[in-house]
C-alpha cells in the first residue's frame, strides 16, 4: 500500500513538473520578449499559450540525426544522465508540509550529489560527439561545475549550521522557529554566494559558457537533434527548478508564507520558486556573458572565500548566542 502511494506521488510530481518545465520555456520567451519591447510568442493560441505544445510536438517528430563518427553508446547515454540526475533531485524537495516523495535525512547532500552527476551528461556529450565545439563546451562545463559546486556547498553550510539538519523538511521547520522566519536575513552572505553559484551550476547566463552561441555554436549539444536535444533542454529547465526549490527551502522559508492560503498548501512555495525563475530570465535579458578566466576567478577568489567567511561568522554567532 505504501509503495502504491509512493508511486502515485512520483507520477503526480513528474506530471506537474513536466507541465511547469513546458511553461517555463513559454514564460522565458514572454519575459525576455517584453523586456526587449517585443510581444514574445503570439501565434499559437491566445497570446501564444499553446506554443510549448507546438514546440514539443515539433521536437518529437523531428528526425534523430546521429553523426557517423560519434561514440554511439556514450552519445545515447549522455542526455539521459543529464535528465535522470535532474529529475532524481526533485524526489527530496518538500513542496508543502509533509509532502515530499522521499523525506530523507541527507536531503541537501543528495541534491548536491545529483547536481554533480549532471556534469557527466554534459562532459560526455561533448566528448562523444567527436567534434571540436562540443568538446570545448564539455571541458568548460566540467571545470565550471566542479568549481562552483564547492562555492554552492559552502554557501549552504551556514544554513545547515543554523538548522542543525540536512533534512529539507527540518530546515523549513527550523526557519519558521527562527526569529526572522527566513534564513535570508541572517544568512545574506550565504544567499549571495548561493545565488551566483546557482546560475553557474545550471549553466545559465551570465555563466552559460558551455553553450556560448557566438563562440561554440551550441556547445555540448551541437551534434544533437530532435528528441535527444530536447532531453538536454528539459534537464536544463528541471535543473533551474530544482535550484530554485533549494533556494526557497534553504533561504526563503519553504512552504511558509505571511498568511495561509486555504486549500492551496503549496501556494507560497510555487510563488517563491517562480520568483527565482523570473530572476533567471531577468538576469539573462540584462547581463552579458562572462569571460572564462573571469568566471574562474570569481568562483575561486571571491565566492569561496566569502562562503568560508560566512561559515566562520555563523559559527561565531552561534557560539555567542548559544
Amino acid at each position: 500500500m505504501e509503495i502504491l502511494w509512493i508511486i502515485l506521488k512520483i507520477v503526480i510530481v513528474f506530471a506537474v513538473l513536466m507541465v511547469h518545465v513546458m511553461y517555463a520555456t513559454y514564460f522565458e520567451r514572454k519575459v525576455i520578449g517584453h523586456m526587449q519591447v517585443r510581444m514574445g510568442p503570439m501565434r499559437v493560441g491566445p497570446h501564444g499559450i499553446l506554443q510549448p505544445i507546438a514546440d514539443g510536438l515539433k521536437l518529437f517528430f523531428k528526425e534523430d540525426v546521429v553523426p557517423e563518427q560519434v561514440d554511439k553508446r556514450v552519445f545515447y547515454i549522455a542526455p539521459l544522465i543529464c535528465l535522470i540526475s535532474a529529475l532524481s533531485a526533485v524526489a527530496v524537495v518538500p513542496f508543502f508540509k509533509g509532502f515530499a516523495i522521499a523525506n530523507i535525512n541527507i536531503g541537501l547532500l543528495y541534491i548536491f550529489a545529483m547536481s554533480s552527476l549532471a556534469a557527466y551528461g554534459v562532459v560526455l556529450a561533448g566528448w562523444s560527439s567527436n567534434s571540436k565545439y562540443p568538446f570545448l563546451g564539455g571541458l568548460r562545463a566540467s571545470a565550471q561545475v566542479i568549481s562552483y559546486e564547492i562555492a554552492m556547498g559552502l554557501s549552504l553550510v551556514g544554513v545547515m549550521m543554523m538548522a542543525g539538519s540536512l533534512n529539507l523538511t527540518d530546515i523549513v521547520m527550523a526557519q519558521s522557529r527562527s526569529p526572522f522566519k527566513i534564513y535570508l536575513i541572517p544568512q545574506f552572505i550565504g544567499f549571495f554566494v548561493f545565488l551566483i553559484a546557482m546560475f553557474a551550476e545550471t549553466n545559465r547566463t551570465p555563466f552559460d559558457l558551455p553553450e556560448a552561441e557566438p563562440e561554440l555554436v551550441a556547445g555540448y549539444c551541437t551534434e544533437y537533434s530532435g528528441m535527444r536535444f530536447a532531453l538536454f533542454f528539459m534537464a536544463e529547465y528541471i535543473g533551474m527548478i530544482v535550484m530554485s526549490c533549494v533556494g526557497v527551502v534553504c533561504f526563503l522559508g519553504g512552504w511558509n508564507g505571511p498568511f495561509d492560503v486555504p486549500g492551496i498548501p503549496f501556494f507560497w512555495f510555487i510563488l517563491k520558486v517562480y520568483l527565482f525563475i523570473f530572476l533567471y530570465y531577468w538576469v539573462r535579458a540584462t547581463l552579458p556573458r562572462y569571460r572564462y578566466d573571469q568566471l574562474m576567478a570569481l568562483g575561486w577568489k571571491v565566492l569561496i572565500p566569502l562562503a568560508l567567511f560566512n561559515i566562520l561568522l555563523t559559527g561565531t554567532m552561534k557560539s555567542i548566542l548559544g
Binding site: D71, R73, V74, I77, I104, N105, I106, L109, Y110, F112, A113, S116, L117, A119, Y120, V123, L124, W127, F135, L139, S142, A143, V145, I146, E149, S165, L166
Partner: protein, 173 residues
C-alpha cells in the same frame, strides 16, 4: 529484502569492477566506474550510513572521477584502444597475486565479529541521524587521525600550488 539488495549490489559491483578493468576504451571504463561507485553507495545505505553514501557519490563521482575524465580527454584514445596488455604472461602473475590476496583476506576474516561495535548501536544511529553520529565520533574519538589526515592534505595542496606557481614563473622568465 535487505539480503536480496545485498546480493544484488555485490554481484553488480563485482561484475562492474571486471568491466572497468577489461574495458578497452578508458572513457567507457570511467563510465562503468561511475555505476560501480553508485552501487558502493548502496552498500553504505544498507549499513544505515546515509552520510557516507552521499559523500561517496559527491566526492568520488562528482569530483574525482570528473578529474579522471579530464585527464583521459588529453590522452589519445584512438591509440589507447589498440594497445595490448602491458605485461606478457599476465595470467600466471594474476593467479599468484590472487592466492596471496586470498590468504591475507583469510587471516583478516578470523578477527571479524558480527554486530555493531562501540556505543553506537543501530537504534542510536537512527535516532541521532548518521551525520551527527559520524561528526561526533570524528571530532572526539578520532580527532588525532582526522587532524593528521588534514595535515597531509594541506601538504598536498601546498605542493600542488608550488608546482603550478613554478611553471607560471618559468613561462614569464
Amino acid at each position: 529484502m535487505v539480503y536480496l539488495l545485498f546480493f544484488y549490489f555485490s554481484i553488480v559491483v563485482i561484475g562492474l569492477a571486471y568491466k572497468v578493468i577489461s574495458a578497452k576504451n578508458p572513457v567507457h571504463g570511467v563510465l562503468t566506474m561511475l555505476a560501480l561507485f553508485f552501487h558502493m553507495a548502496g552498500f553504505y545505505l544498507l549499513l544505515n550510513a546515509e552520510f557516507l553514501a552521499a559523500v561517496q557519490v559527491i566526492v568520488y563521482c562528482g569530483a574525482i572521477l570528473v578529474l579522471y575524465l579530464f585527464v583521459l580527454f588529453l590522452v589519445d584514445i584512438k591509440s589507447e584502444v589498440k594497445t595490448g596488455p602491458f605485461i606478457k604472461n599476465g595470467a600466471k602473475l594474476a593467479i599468484l597475486s590472487s592466492i596471496l590476496l586470498l590468504l591475507t583476506f583469510l587471516r583478516g576474516v578470523k578477527n571479524f565479529s558480527l554486530g555493531p561495535h562501540g556505543h553506537f548501536t543501530i537504534e542510536r544511529v537512527q535516532e541521532i541521524t548518521h551525520t551527527k553520529a559520524i561528526g561526533q565520533e570524528v571530532f572526539t574519538t578520532y580527532i588525532l587521525p582526522f587532524e593528521i589526515a588534514g595535515l597531509i592534505l594541506l601538504v598536498a595542496v601546498i605542493g600542488g600550488l608550488a608546482l603550478a606557481k613554478r611553471e607560471a614563473e618559468g613561462k614569464e622568465g
